[in-house]
């Protein structure tokens, strides 16, 4: 018993207790009065403000009419989800599975319509959209590149250990350092690529001033740091595939691509799914890079949800801060649990 208690007690105090406290705070209006707090319970007002009220532009984005493209995307996404629901209901149906999936479908539908009404209609989206961009686009890019590099390094090449060590380095650099280093890189007047920028006539262009450039700029920094993580794990996974499988396929006449596709990849899928899940979980928490590199700007273009909550806290609006944090928690949990149940578990069982 002595073994497990310290961990349980610490988690209860520093994780479960604050979680409940935070829930209560998210439902309250909190005022600082002379060193003590004045708490007033306001039910869902904080969430209302974020989702439908004056903070809507900040959290969700600006809604100002859907464009034709927006409608097409929205209907396509709705159609896709309806098809998914029907397929699930027809093939295998359990009450628990259905209820669980309702969350997944709901989130997909909501995010889909949100993107259709903002991004695809040419309006700005809020911190939710930005966070999802960092998570899904960022992790996708990181996974593909990390896996690709791991695949290359698992080939019979010279200097393997050199590449291995070099590719691992960014993981050890502090994110703050990454932020500043990439700010220097991106400087179009004093940075190392300034001559190149001037040559193509973008000498006075600023990454931090254009919303999309700034988002990509942060995503590149984040990828630079995290690709090594995927690389290291996937390389180890690729190398732990028994040599016999590969050799058997070679004797059977498979080409390197066929061996990867038919033999190696199915072997490493469980690891791939797990590593991606870990990465997604961590990516939802992104805050240091946007804060260092652009301070959330221009406007709110690069502000992640954590940063949003942090700014709300700075303005001493604890209720709003907790509400945003809780919305982040909701999105994270639904995404990660869906991914875990629908992808990881299935891969591990298969």
């Amino acid at each position: 018993m002595i073994f497990i208690w310290p961990a349980v007690v610490m988690i209860l105090i520093f994780s479960i207790f604050p979680l409940v406290a935070s829930a209560i705070m998210a439902l309250s209006r909190i005022r600082l009065r002379g060193g003590s707090y004045k708490v007033r319970f306001v039910w869902f007002q904080n969430f209302e403000k974020q989702l439908f009220g004056t903070e809507q532009f900040h959290f969700l984005g600006t809604f100002a009419g859907m464009s034709a493209l927006g409608w097409i995307v929205a209907l396509a996404i709705t159609g896709g989800i309806v098809w998914w629901v029907l397929r699930y209901v027809r093939s295998s149906f359990t009450v628990l599975g259905f209820v669980g999936r309702l969350f997944t479908w709901g989130l997909c539908l909501g995010v889909g319509w949100l993107l259709a009404a903002t991004f695809f209609s040419g309006h700005q989206f809020g911190t939710l959209g930005t966070t999802l961009f960092y998570v899904f686009v960022g992790c996708g890019v990181q996974f593909v590149i990390g896996l690709g590099l791991a695949f290359l390094c698992s080939m019979p090449i010279r200097g393997r250990s050199f590449f291995r060590v070099v590719f691992f380095i960014p993981l050890m650099i502090t994110p703050i350092g990454v932020g500043y280093a990439f700010r220097m890189m991106a400087d179009t007047t004093k940075g190392p690529f300034a001559p190149a920028w001037q040559w193509v006539g973008l000498g006075d262009f600023s990454w931090a001033a254009d919303p999309w450039a700034a988002r990509f700029f942060i995503m590149i920094g984040d990828s630079w740091q995290w690709i090594p993580f995927i690389f290291v794990v996937m390389l180890a996974a690729l190398e732990s595939v028994p040599r016999d499988y590969v050799e058997a396929a070679q004797v059977d006449g498979a080409s390197s691509w066929e061996i990867f596709k038919d033999i190696t990849w199915p072997q490493v899928v469980p690891v791939a799914a797990t590593v991606l899940l870990i990465r997604v979980i961590e990516a939802f928490k992104i805050v240091d890079l946007p804060n260092i590199m652009t301070a959330g700007g221009p406007g709110i273009a690069t502000e992640s949800m954590t940063l949003h909550a942090l700014f709300a806290w700075r303005s001493l609006d604890l209720g709003q801060s907790s509400a945003v944090a809780y919305l982040l928690l909701f999105v994270t949990v639904v995404s990660c649990v869906s991914f875990f149940n629908l992808v990881v578990l299935r891969r591990i069982r298969a």
Partner: protein, 346 residues
Amino acid sequence: MTLMQRLFEPRSIRTMAPGTKVLVYSVLLFWTAFVLFPIYWVLITSFKTAVDVNGGPVYLPFIDFQPSLHAWKELFVFDYKDTLRAYMNSLIIALSSTAASVLIGSMAAYALARFEYRPKFGVVLMFVLMMIAVFVAVGKYGVDWRLSTAVGVAIFYFLARALGRHFSASLGNGDILFWMISQRILAPIVVVVPIYMMFQQVRLLDTHIAVILTYTVINLPIVIWLMYDFFRSIPYDLEESAQLDGATRLGVFFDIVLPLSRTGLAATTLLVMILSWNEYLLALFLSTSKAQTMPILVAAMNAGERGILWWSMSVVIIVMIIPVIVLAIILQRYISKGLLLGAVKG
């Protein structure tokens, strides 16, 4: 043979076709450059003077510009106090919290891997209800938090003793493990404000202990997750034979199990260490001045009136990276092995 075949068909199993070779090496070399260049740039910037930085890019020391130690001197000779303190803070916090979470986490992981726990579902529910009751008492009716916590814990304890055995539904080790690991999904921003208020109440804000405790808990899930798989892979007979020889449970754990799991411990330690060393958000809340850590110090250098002093910034970044690299070199052969094990079985 067609040209494509000649370029991309390998001659033998251990060699690559010339075309593939060119492709593979160019990708690898490109990525090497992509990885190393920002680091190189930071490194040379730390030896540049203001003129070298502001007058447009210069690339090669001794050729493009004359390296100068002024930024290093500035930091270490003239203005070392703040940096040194933050550095010491970071070291103390990272080391202690890593040690604590590796120790506590491995113990929990070991317990989950070896003993069977069956907490009653009803008791867990009771605990949650009690916690909410305490909150309501403190928040709504203004009862003193110490009093209400003590009363709540006491009531819970007696109720659990009295009613515990009447509940039939119970949870297993798997549920406990999942519960612990799933804490990692929790974004720190969700819990940091209450933690901040908690430490404020007990007047521990801006102390080492506050940051250490918080980091320990934040990293527990990782330790438990990685080490659980490790302990599962250690054969049980060794421990049984040690027990037959008369060792206690704790003795077995420290003498047999921990030494056997060096690989896993090393990987876990390194990972947790890096995470604590680089942590930003929690430190931002919990350490304002006295306990300020390096990431906060570096981030604050942003706010100078003269704009960012890139040369000093580079020096600080390099100084911050060094311990991690040293640690990584010491532990490097365990890293990928340890990480993989967790990922495969997780």
